[in-house]
Assembly symmetry: C2
Homo-oligomer: 348 residues x 2
DNA sequence: TTGTAAGCGTTATCAA
DNA sequence: TTGATAACGCTTACAA
C-alpha cells in the first residue's frame, strides 16, 4: 500500500497529462496566450476547473521575479491611526489581485531590519514603510537592494525616493498657534520618544510658534514618552502629583503628538479629577476615528490617513508596473479639527 | 557596454563560487548543518554577511512546501474589533520568524474565495479565517485542500476542525437578560445582516431570553443592518422619524450586535436629540477599546479578542509544526461590562 | 566532509 | 499551433 499517492498535486504537468498535451500548451492556455487552439484551450480550461487547479505562485514568482505581493511595515499595529490606511491599501490591492504582507517593527531597529529582509526574501514587489528613524542602516539596505519603496509618516533625506506624509513641524506649529490664540501661554508638549524623527519635527513646530508669539520656552514643559495611552496618562499623573494634586497653572493646555497620548490625558483626568477643558485644555494629533467620540470630543490635528494610503499604494504600483519612473515627494496638508477639548482663555 | 551585469544576484551559487566550494556546502553551512567543517563554515558565513546575502524564500518554499507564512482572512479590516487580535497574532508570528498575509473578504463570498485561493497559491502554511458564512463552497475548498485552518468568530459544523470563538447565542441571551433585569421589556434588537450566522445566533439568544422571561416577542423590534456605524445610525433615525421624532416607548432599550452599531446609535442620538441612557438604553457587543471612552461609556458584552488571537495562532502553529494532531474546539466565555449606557427602570 | 545531480512548478525560447 | 528544454534558487539523496 502506497500512502504517498493519496492526493496528487494538481499542477500544470498533471493537467498536461490528463489533457494529453505538453505542459507548455497548458501554461499558454492558462495564461490566455492567443497562440493556442481554441478547442484544446477550452478542453484544458475545463479540466483545470474540474480539478480545482490553482497556480503555484511560489514557482511563478521564482521564475518571473514578480510576486504580486506588497509589504507593509508599520511601527505600531495597535494604533488605530493605521487602520484606515491599511483598509484602503488592502481594498485596492485586493481589486488588483495583489496581496499584502503586514508587519510591525514596534519602533525597534532590529525588528525593522528583520522585517525588511523578510520582505526581500519573500520577493515582494515593493513596500510601504513607516521607518523607525530618518537615518539608519535599514534604509541603506532598502536602497542597496533597489526595493521599490514608498515611505510614509516621514522620510529619510535622499533624492531618489518616494514619500507621502504630513509635515509634522507644521502640524506642531498649527496646533501650538491655535492654543496660543485661545489664550494659552503655558503649553505642555507631550511628545513621543526623544529619538523619533516625528518627535523632533513636532517639537520644532512647537518651539517656532512660541518664538513667533514671543512666549518664553520652558524646558520643564517639554515631556517625552512612549506613544501609548499609558505613556500619556503616566506623565500627567506624575506632573500633578509633583504639584500636590493641583495644577498650579504650571500649564493650562497640553499638546500631544498623538491622539492616543491625548486619551491618556483624558484617562489621567478621570483618575485625578480635573476637568477637560475647564482645568486643562487638550489638543491631539492624528484625528483617529474615536477622537470625535471622546468626552469631551477631542480637538485635534487631522492627518489624512485615507489619502496617505491611496496615494502611497498608487505611487508604488505605478512604479512596480512601470507606468511611472518619476519619484514622488508628497507632503500632505494638515488641518485643525475644532471640537470641545480646548478652553478659550479670552486673553489674546 | 553590458548593463545586464550591473548587479549580480547574490545567491547560494554565487557564494559558492566566491568561496570556491559547491552550492551544497554553502547551503549546509547556511542551515547550520553540523556536517560542515568549521573553518569553511566560518569563511562562508563571513562571505555571506559581507555580501548581504539573504535567502530566496520563494525557492525554498517551492522546494520544502513550507513558507513560514500564515494567512489571516477577516471580514472587515475597518472594524476596531480586529486590531487587538491582529496585533497579538502579528507579534507572536514575528517572534517565531513567521510572516502574516492579511486580507479582507468584506463579507463577500467571491472575495473570500479569491482570498482563500490566493493563500493556497502563495503556499501559506495555514490560515486563520473569519468565514463569511457557516456553510459555503469556500469552506469545502479549504477542507479539500487540507489547508490547516483555525476558524474564528464562528465555525462551520464539521468534526475535524479547529475553532476559537465566543458563543454568540449566549452573548445575546446574557445581554437581553441584563436589560430585562434592568426593567426593559421593549428591547430593540439591532442585528447584523440577516444572512450572517452571527446574526442568527445572536437573535436566538435574544429570543430565548425574552421567552424565558415571558416577554412578548415583537417582530417590529428586530432590525437587520450592515455592521457599520452608519448602518446603526440609519436604522435608529428611520425609526424615530416614523414616530414623529419622539420615541413613544416603542422601545426603551436597544441591543446591538456590535459596538460599531452602538456607536451609530450614539450618533443618531446626537442628531435627533434623545439622551442615552435617559431616553434610550444601549448595550453593545465586542467591547472594543473605544467603547469605554464613549459618552456615556458603553455597557457592552466583552469578547476576548486577545485570547482569541493567542489561542488561534497557538493552535495553528502547533499543528503546522506537528506538535499537535488534535482538533481544538474552543468556545470562549463572554461577560457583560457594565458602564453607563443603560438606565435602571427599577420595575423588576 | 564535500560535490554531483535531480527536482520543486512555472514560463520563455527555440525548434518542429 | 504545439512540444522539448532550460532556468529561476534552494535542498537532499547519493556518491566520492
Amino acid at each position: 500500500m502506497d500512502k504517498t499517492q493519496k492526493r496528487k498535486n494538481i499542477n500544470i504537468k498533471y493537467l498536461a497529462k490528463i489533457a494529453r498535451v505538453s505542459p507548455s500548451t497548458v501554461s499558454r492556455v492558462l495564461r490566455h496566450d492567443p497562440s493556442a487552439n481554441n478547442k484544446t484551450a477550452d478542453r484544458i480550461l475545463k479540466i483545470a476547473k474540474d480539478l480545482n487547479y490553482y497556480p503555484n505562485l511560489l514557482a511563478k514568482g521564482l521564475r518571473d521575479k514578480k510576486t504580486k505581493t506588497i509589504g507593509i511595515i508599520l511601527n505600531d499595529l495597535k494604533n488605530p491611526l493605521y487602520y484606515e490606511t491599511i483598509k484602503v491599501i488592502g481594498d485596492m490591492l485586493n481589486d488588483l489581485g495583489y496581496t499584502m504582507i503586514l508587519c510591525d517593527s514596534n519602533y525597534d531597529h532590529n525588528t525593522e531590519r528583520k522585517n525588511i529582509i523578510n520582505m526581500l526574501s519573500k520577493g515582494v514587489d515593493g513596500i510601504i514603510i513607516s521607518p523607525v528613524n530618518i537615518k539608519s542602516e535599514n534604509i541603506t539596505l532598502i536602497r542597496e537592494k533597489d526595493l521599490k519603496t514608498v515611505y510614509i509618516d516621514f522620510a529619510p533625506e535622499f533624492e531618489n525616493i518616494n514619500y507621502v506624509h504630513v509635515d509634522h513641524e507644521h502640524a506642531g506649529y498649527t496646533a501650538t498657534e491655535y492654543l496660543i490664540r485661545k489664550g494659552h501661554t503655558n503649553i505642555l508638549l507631550l511628545n513621543g520618544p526623544f529619538q523619533l524623527s516625528v518627535s523632533k519635527n513636532f517639537l520644532k513646530g512647537y518651539l517656532q510658534a512660541l518664538m513667533n508669539y514671543e512666549i518664553t520656552i520652558k524646558r520643564s514643559l517639554i515631556k517625552y514618552t512612549e506613544l501609548s495611552l499609558e505613556g500619556g496618562c503616566e506623565v500627567i499623573k506624575k506632573l500633578y502629583s509633583l504639584n500636590n494634586l493641583t495644577n498650579p497653572n504650571r500649564f493650562s493646555a497640553v499638546l500631544t503628538l498623538s491622539d492616543m497620548l491625548a486619551i491618556g490625558v483624558y484617562e489621567a483626568s478621570k483618575k485625578i479629577g480635573f476637568k477637560i477643558p475647564d482645568d486643562l485644555s487638550v489638543v491631539g494629533y492624528d484625528n483617529i476615528f474615536m477622537s470625535a467620540y471622546l468626552s469631551p470630543p477631542l480637538t485635534t490635528i487631522h492627518a489624512p490617513k485615507i489619502r496617505t494610503g491611496k496615494l502611497s499604494i498608487q505611487i508604488l504600483l505605478d512604479q512596480i508596473e512601470n507606468r511611472d519612473k518619476e519619484f514622488h515627494k508628497i507632503i500632505l496638508d494638515t488641518r485643525i479639527v475644532e471640537r470641545d477639548s480646548v478652553k478659550d482663555m479670552g486673553i489674546i
